[in-house]
Subunit: 346 residues, 2 copies
């Protein structure tokens, strides 16, 4: 196996302390590869980076309109949020509009990822619920789709929803169909894993993922309902970027600054995808080591910087995210985490 | 640069989702390399993996005896602990024996790493202190050394201690001298960084780090005071393995089972070192990507398994640490994190 190139350096004391290899692809909606590094044809699990694709049925089915979902709620359906109070409240609101309680969620429960939210919840003597799960918005979107399906069939919603995380459930079949259509990758023969929130995750090459995000950016290559849904979801996230991640988080910070010019979304194990409507491009990145988001965010920032050629504060934000200070417990800068991929092939 | 070999696979859905490259060296106290993979001559920052070497002056100087330090306290001086109540209390006890308060510590403050300790502290409405810093035991050891030095010089302890984290402070010079003697590496010309707790960390090749731990294992190659100190510290950690890490942590679990047969210690950015007295060997591992401990612990478990050839529950513990289940928020096994280095050169 040829090693993927080194894309990120963690520096300390004037030397490279650790480094991260990975691969990325930048494609247009016709499938042309504009930039690439490393192996972009090995199938990888996109994890939460494709939540916007998995949310297409929420809009395309009519469920979002039927239940009167707001921008904040649609943005949360695309989110890996920090479990801050507004995130949990917004998920609860989606479920209430669909007429079901939080125990309909099958994503599991964990403590809020966001540090202050975790401590505040602990200090209040409460325990977390499924609403605090970083995927609760995506799952609330699935539940809304399921409630509409049940109503159309004349089925009891709660009975119909049970097991909606399973690949063969009608809700998940619709989600998988959207993923298949957007990526153009044959998911019937793809490796399939179980994601952190218990839904299936399909192994898809970066080439196909970047193509899917170019389609999200442009609508080209998607049917009319899904193209409209992609545009609606991008607009919702641009209007409510806090909902897609949270306080201080990469995706929130980037989209709060760039608005509708960038849609970007991190996934577990070092994945990041983005859609750039003005350029008609899609981006997909995977770090070999996965593990956490520190390296992939540097890569995404560097690619956005290169592709968008921003100025002023827009440039400063991306520069800071592509080359950031590592500080110790006394607040002393002890190193840098920075883009090292300029020598990468492609 | 030749890529280091892949040592760990993160598997999901029947494929390798992420993988970790790295290098390791196993040496005897004469400097013979018994096993190796990857580049073992590139200097790396050992970070907290060398705390036992940095604690040698605590015993060798006579400070441990002078202040009547217990096994638990000596073990904490070698620790990256989770900030559990017993850890914080033990650091406070060390300082009290030396006659100084917690504000003598210059390691900085962070919330306990251990999840339950963090939540309990938040629930109590309290804030963390420097005693909760994972390095508070090491720093309390430095403070004890400094208090003894001050007493021997007739200086005021608090005034003498100020700035003890700086490379030129007499305490840190003694610590660096111990590191230099154990590793045999010329630290005057080594790259030097600032560690998370503000003391210097010197870049040292894995070959020299593994040699140092073979010396800790055997006493060979160390002067008599440091050899005795190494033996005393190993015995203390073997008697109080909870102190060196904490509830559920790798180093605590391994040493709770193997007792004095294994001394092992993790460091930040994917470093792990170990001493095996019965074999007279030292081990040093560095994962390229650093980031966190998940991969390096798998490598250390696999190397201990291979070198010690244990049976029964001893083998089961290491097998479980070298090939462990990844579970999602619903408790479903979604993948494995496992040793993949059998094909590695060396």
């Amino acid at each position: 196996m040829t090693a993927n190139p080194v894309l990120v350096h963690a520096q300390r004391g004037g030397i490279v302390e650790s480094f991260h290899r990975g691969s990325y692809a930048v494609l247009d909606a016709c499938g042309a590869v504009l930039h690439q590094a490393g192996d972009i044809d090995r199938p990888i699990f996109p994890r939460s980076a494709v939540k916007v694709l998995q949310a297409l049925p929420l809009v395309a089915s009519g469920a979002a309109e039927r239940y009167g979902l707001s921008d904040a709620e649609l943005a949360l359906a695309c989110a890996s949020h920090g479990g801050e109070p507004r995130h949990a409240d917004t998920a609860a609101s989606m479920l209430a509009k669909a007429g079901v309680a939080a125990d309909a969620l099958e994503c599991g429960t964990h403590w809020p990822y966001q540090d202050a939210a975790l401590k505040a919840l602990a200090a209040s003597g409460q325990q977390p619920s499924a609403l605090h799960n970083n995927c609760s918005g995506k799952h609330s979107g699935f539940v809304c789709v399921g409630c509409l399906m049940a109503a159309q069939r004349g089925d009891d919603a709660r009975a119909f929803l049970r097991g909606y995380v399973q690949p063969d459930h009608p809700v998940m079949r619709e989600v998988t169909a959207a993923l298949q259509a957007a990526t153009g990758h044959d998911l019937r023969h793809a490796a399939v894993g179980t994601d952190g929130c218990s839904i299936p995750t399909y192994a898809i090459p970066l080439r196909a993922l970047a193509l899917a995000f170019a389609r999200v950016a442009t609508g080209q290559g998607l049917d009319a309902d899904r193209a409209a849904a992609a545009q609606r979801l991008r607009a919702a996230v641009a209007a409510q970027p806090f909902m897609v991640a949270g306080t201080g988080r990469f995706d929130t910070r980037v989209m709060a600054r760039f608005g509708a010019r960038v849609f970007c979304k991190v996934g577990a194990e070092g994945v990041h995808c983005a859609a750039l409507p003005e350029l008609g491009l899609g981006i997909a990145v995977k770090m070999d080591d996965g593990n956490n988001a520190r390296a992939v965010e540097v890569v995404m920032a560097a690619l956005l910087r290169q592709l968008l050629q921003p100025a002023g504060e827009d440039a400063a934000l991306l520069d800071g995210l592509a080359d950031l200070a590592l500080k110790n417990w006394n607040g002393i800068e002890v190193g840098r985490l920075r883009w090292a991929g300029d020598a990468a092939p492609g």
